[in-house]
Symmetry: C2
Subunit: 215 residues, 2 copies
């Protein structure tokens, strides 16, 4: 399989985690978002939306990380990344959507570029923008996770699920934007636990071949 | 079942379509977003994120429309709103995510209120903002749908799927923001077909009890 992504892209990061958790090997193909390679015609023939990740698997070309994760779960069911009961799956998918719909897309690079260039928003206000949506989303997520009897070492139970694939990249992004994580101890604890595991470590942005190298 | 929603909310609208397509009856409970009722403590005990829709079904409290739709499909599988094969389900979920992640959340009321009140963006620029993300998303979606051999009268095949539940509310929102739909003939044709069907008509914002009444 070939995974087209970018080291720092949160949606690429979550897809790498899911593939690593499932023990799937793949070729990593970097698409440099900082140089707008995702908008080049060569990439747009793979995905007209001009967004990463794209997964080339056998004869299927997959796009949109929520759909890729569901496909991975159906085609490579072991180990499962969704609970075995409908209510549990609803909970994991809802936690995932809280991040994948209501936090991540609003702080996407194309949105921040629009704020900067079309609305002349200065860099301090761009940081405030990101902080606002991450903090608002994390506050709701923390409340859910802290109260939830199904939470374990991970967002749901004691094995990783989709929700952890979504959460860890979002925490990484929060740190980049210097969001104060003190109010979210449950999120911080789950993040700390996940980042001890090889599947999560190997998916980290700075572990990718297109990450800038330390001198 | 009890569905908490708002007549004009796109996520409530897509949930109503899915429930109507499945022939499920529900009590409609209006949460007035224009009066910020979703932020009241009474509603936040149902959903700490302060977002509609919320579905109370038997002993499960469901939130986040992507998770609600998947749960409906699992618990009420007939008629199906996903294709029977993994590649088809991937396609329908990806089309849904193109709308549910990359168009809808960016034009959400809370985002527009932030633009207006925190960034002092004027109303013309707010309309331009919405137009930009809807047009960019629809252009990619049109390209996909027009090229896709699996497209039929609906986004995928000749029976409705999740993708149509996502698309029709987004087209309705595009019309509200006066987006020029001329460049998207495939989207317009699918929308026109869906809006002849009772499940879609009954879910329309202006058919809901909390819609302003025509004099």
């Amino acid at each position: 399989m070939k995974l087209y992504g970018y080291f720092r892209s949160g949606t690429s990061y979550r897809t790498r985690i899911a593939m690593n958790l499932k023990g799937l090997e793949y070729d990593y193909l970097a698409v440099n978002l900082a140089q707008d390679e995702q908008l080049a015609e060569t990439f747009k023939t793979l995905n007209p939306q001009g967004l990463v990740p794209v997964l080339q698997a056998d004869d299927v070309l997959l796009y949109q990380s929520p759909a890729i994760l569901e496909w991975l779960e159906e085609v490579y069911p072991v180990p499962p990344l969704l609970p075995s009961d409908a209510a549990g799956r609803m909970q994991v998918r809802a936690l995932s959507a809280m991040i994948g719909c209501d936090i991540h897309p609003i702080n996407n690079r194309r949105i921040l570029q629009y704020l900067r260039h079309e609305l002349s928003v200065d860099e301090a206000q761009v940081i405030t923008w990101c902080n606002r949506w991450i903090s608002e989303g994390f506050a709701a997520l923390e409340k859910r996770l802290a109260a939830d009897h199904t939470r374990g070492k991970f967002c749901y139970g004691d094995t990783p699920t989709f929700a952890d694939c979504y959460l860890i990249p979002q925490v990484s992004s929060a740190r980049r934007f210097e969001v104060d994580l003190t109010p979210y101890p449950t999120i911080v604890a789950i993040d700390a636990h996940c980042r001890t595991l090889k599947a999560f470590i190997d998916a980290e942005p700075m572990q990718q071949p297109d990450a800038p190298q330390a001198i």
